[in-house]
C-alpha cells in the first residue's frame, strides 16, 4: 500500500472499520512511513479529544413525561375511534342517542343512575374567561355534577403556561382551582400539531386528547354528557 491509498483508508483504519486485509496492509505501510504515521497520530489525538470533550446533551426532566402524555393521546384504540368517525351511521346514531338520552334523562336522574355531567366546549379564546366564570358558578349550583372542558382551535390557548386574559391576569390559578374541585380540562392534540404548539407548554392539570371535536362527540354520545357552549 502506498501513501495515496493509505490516505483514502486512514479514517477507516483509525476507527477499526477496515476489513482485516486492508488493515494489515496499511499497518505495514505505517511501519515504513513517518509522514502517514504522524498523520494517524494527529487524527487519533483529535478523535480522542472529540470523544472526551464533546458533551452528551441530557434531556430536560420533563421530556419523558411530555412524550408519554402525547403518546397516551395517540394510543386510544384505533378501531373504536375509526368506527366512530367513519361510520355512515354517525349522525343518525348521535341524534338517536342524544334524543334517547334527553328523553330518558328525568328517569335516569331520578334513580340516581346518571350523575349530572357537562361538557363545556371552548374553541375560541375570546370565550375562555367567561367560560371559566360560568363553570365556577355552575359548580357552586351543582356541586355533585361532573365537568369536562374540551378545547380546540384558539380555545387551547388559555391552557398554555403563562397565558393571560384580556385584563392581563394569568389563567392558570383559575384553572388550577377548578381542577382541584374536580373539573377536567382537555386539549386537542390535532390543534397542537397544526399550530406547532409544544405539548410541554400545556399546563400540567390538562390532559391531551387526540381530537377535541371527537372528544366532545364521544362524551355526549357514549357517556351521557350534556353539551354546553359558553
Amino acid at each position: 500500500m502506498n501513501c495515496s491509498e493509505t490516505h483514502k483508508l486512514l479514517h477507516g483504519y483509525l476507527d477499526n472499520e477496515l476489513e482485516l486485509g486492508s488493515a494489515l496492509a496499511l499497518q505495514e505501510h505505517l511501519r515504513d512511513c513517518s509522514v502517514c504515521t504522524a498523520e494517524v497520530e494527529r487524527l487519533r489525538v483529535l478523535r480522542d479529544a472529540l470523544r472526551d470533550r464533546l458533551p452528551r446533551h441530557a434531556p430536560p426532566a420533563s421530556l419523558a413525561r411530555d412524550v408519554h402524555r402525547a403518546l397516551r393521546a395517540a394510543a386510544r384504540p384505533p378501531s373504536s375511534r375509526r368506527r366512530w368517525f367513519f361510520s355512515l351511521a354517525f349522525v343518525p346514531a348521535v341524534s338517536a342517542l342524544a334524543i334517547a338520552g334527553w328523553l330518558l334523562w328525568p328517569t335516569l336522574h331520578g334513580t340516581g343512575f346518571g350523575a349530572e355531567r357537562y361538557v363545556y366546549h371552548i374553541n375560541n379564546l375570546d370565550n375562555a374567561a367567561a367560560a371559566l366564570q360560568n363553570i365556577q358558578f355552575h359548580l357552586e349550583a351543582a356541586p355533585q355534577a361532573q365537568f369536562v372542558v374540551v378545547t380546540h382551535n384558539s380555545g387551547v390557548d388559555f391552557l398554555m403556561q403563562g397565558a393571560k386574559d384580556g385584563k392581563g391576569l394569568v389563567y392558570e390559578p383559575r384553572v388550577q382551582q377548578l381542577s382541584q374541585q374536580g373539573v377536567k380540562f382537555s386539549v386537542c392534540n390535532n390543534t397542537l400539531r397544526v399550530r406547532h404548539l409544544p405539548v410541554s407548554q400545556v399546563v400540567h392539570v390538562a390532559q391531551i386528547v387526540p381530537s377535541g371535536i371527537a372528544e366532545v362527540g364521544r362524551l355526549q354520545a357514549k357517556e351521557g354528557y350534556i353539551y354546553l357552549k359558553p
Binding site: C3, H7, K8, L10, H11, G12, D15, E17, V35, A38, E39, E41, R42, L43, V45, L46, R47, D48, A49, L50, R51, D52, R53, L54, P55, R56, H57, A58, P59, P60, L63, A64, D66, V67, A70, L71, A74, A75, P77, P78, S79, H196, P198, V199, S200
Partner: protein, 186 residues
C-alpha cells in the same frame, strides 16, 4: 380484536433511547426547545409506525426517525444541509494529508492536545460545522455507531460515511489549529 401492544413495545424498545434521541436532535438543531419538539414528534411517528419495526437495533431505528424529523421540521438544519453531490475522495482530500504539508510537523499532536483541554472550544468548533458534517461527528464520536449503522441512519453508502467523517475531522483540525495560532475563536 388484536390487543394494541404498542405501549409495551414502545417502553421496551424505544423509551430507553430517549436520551440519545434528544442528544442527536439537540446537536442538529442547536436549540433545546426545537430538540424537545423534534423528539416528541419523532416519538409519535415511531409509535405510529411501531409495527414496521421488526427487531434489530432499535436505537438506530429511532435515531433515523429523529434525524429525518429534524430535517423536515427544522429550518436551520435544512438551510445548512444540501450537500447534493458526494465528495470524490481523490480530489477532495484536504492538502494536509499530502506530503510536506506545512502543518504536518511532529509538534502538532502536542498542540492539539493542549487545545483539547478547552471543552467549550471543541463544542463551538463542532457547532459551527455544516449540519451534514456535524451529524456524522455526533453519530460517530458521541453515539459511537459503526460506519454501517451511520450509513443506515443517514441513508448513504458506508464509503460516504468515511469520506464525510474525513472531511469533518479535517475541518475541525483546521479550525482548532487556527484558533490556537490566532488565540481567538474558531
Amino acid at each position: 380484536m388484536r390487543k394494541d401492544d404498542r405501549p409495551e413495545r414502545f417502553e421496551e424498545f424505544i423509551a430507553p433511547h430517549l436520551p440519545a434521541a434528544y442528544n442527536l436532535a439537540r446537536w442538529l438543531t442547536a436549540d433545546a426547545d426545537a430538540a424537545r419538539d423534534v423528539v416528541q414528534e419523532a416519538c409519535l411517528r415511531a409509535f405510529r409506525f411501531l409495527d414496521a419495526y421488526r427487531g434489530g437495533n432499535s436505537r438506530v431505528w429511532l435515531l433515523t426517525i429523529v434525524r429525518n424529523t429534524c430535517y423536515s421540521m427544522h429550518e436551520q438544519a435544512r438551510r445548512h444541509s444540501g450537500l447534493e453531490e458526494e465528495f470524490d475522495e481523490e480530489s477532495h482530500y484536504p492538502a494536509a494529508f499530502a506530503h510536506g504539508a506545512p502543518c504536518a510537523t511532529p509538534a502538532e499532536p502536542e498542540r492539539l492536545l493542549q487545545l483539547s483541554e478547552d471543552r467549550a472550544l471543541i463544542q463551538r468548533a463542532v457547532d459551527s460545522l455544516p449540519t451534514e458534517y456535524r451529524e456524522v461527528i455526533v453519530l460517530r464520536e458521541i453515539e459511537e455507531f459503526s460506519y454501517k449503522e451511520i450509513a443506515s441512519i443517514m441513508n448513504v453508502p458506508t464509503g460516504t460515511v468515511m469520506s464525510r467523517l474525513a472531511r469533518a475531522r479535517s475541518i475541525l483540525q483546521k479550525k482548532l489549529s487556527s484558533a490556537f495560532r490566532q488565540g481567538s475563536d474558531v
